[in-house]
Subunit: 163 residues, 2 copies
């Protein structure tokens, strides 16, 4: 099973493709999409094009994104939600299953503690995927953690047709 | 000049097409797009399809939307921002100019008072467009007010190539 994880944003979108074979997890590819400052509609069109290309190239079986919770800095939050809307549109057009995980859900799945520190999550992402170094930048590490959350959950719950 | 105004939402999207000939304003068409309860990505795909059809059918020269400001009910706000992201994507793909107006900006343009009541704005929308009745529901009246804001502003500011 191949899972694409996405850390949404308007300026920076982290993405990571994780393959699960039994209990083994492997990072097939990961990267960062960036958009230059300018009119939001044009940046959304760039995200649409880049993400469509990533889906076509890596052909995942499922796609997961971070679930948004707004607290402060609402202007940035609006931009992130606009980008997430475009990301979910691309996923819907692909016909793939789409899941959203909140940061506490990701932390629980990766390190067993919903209030774990970012560094601890990044350390476990590196170990679970057998990477020589922690994935960088944070957006990419977060995207891989989101993909791993889906992979770990579906390996724990058999009989869902998600092997 | 023909302007499409859009009042964004995930469940209800008001839209209205206004034509300006000199100082005369006319409503060419207006309506409401609704999406049934269900997974957000599918609803976003419906909005994408409906709005693409509206743009193709009415061929506006410019498109305007409401500018979002979040205060309370952040879950609803995230959904509205996701929908607005998809709407702005469609506008970007069409190559048309795209403007966002805040509610006070719309009220100022329509009735000259940024703190005017909704009913007063709806009354003026009806009068400016020569409609027999106030447009209903509120989402449609808001969309027409947004389109009128652009039309009134561009009629006041000559020399912008927006005649």
């Amino acid at each position: 099973m191949v899972v694409l994880g996405i850390d949404p944003g308007l300026e920076r979108i982290g993405w990571g493709v994780v393959e699960r074979c039994g209990s083994q997890m492997k990072a097939l590819a990961f990267g960062l999409v960036t958009t230059p400052k300018g009119p939001t509609p044009e940046r959304l069109a760039m995200i649409h094009a880049e993400l469509t290309g990533i889906l076509e190239k890596h052909g995942p079986d499922a796609v997961c994104t971070e679930k948004l919770f707004f607290a402060k800095n609402q202007t940035t939050a609006i931009d992130v939600a606009k980008a997430l809307g475009v990301i979910q549109l691309v996923i819907s057009h692909s016909g793939l299953p789409c899941m959203e995980f909140s940061p506490p859900e990701v932390k629980s799945a990766i390190v067993g503690n919903g209030a774990a520190e970012k560094k601890q999550v990044q350390y476990m992402v590196q170990k679970l995927l057998g990477l020589a170094q922690p994935p960088r930048p944070d957006d990419v590490a977060d995207a891989l953690a989101i993909a791993l959350t889906y992979a770990l959950r579906s390996s724990a719950v058999r009989g869902l047709g998600q092997t």
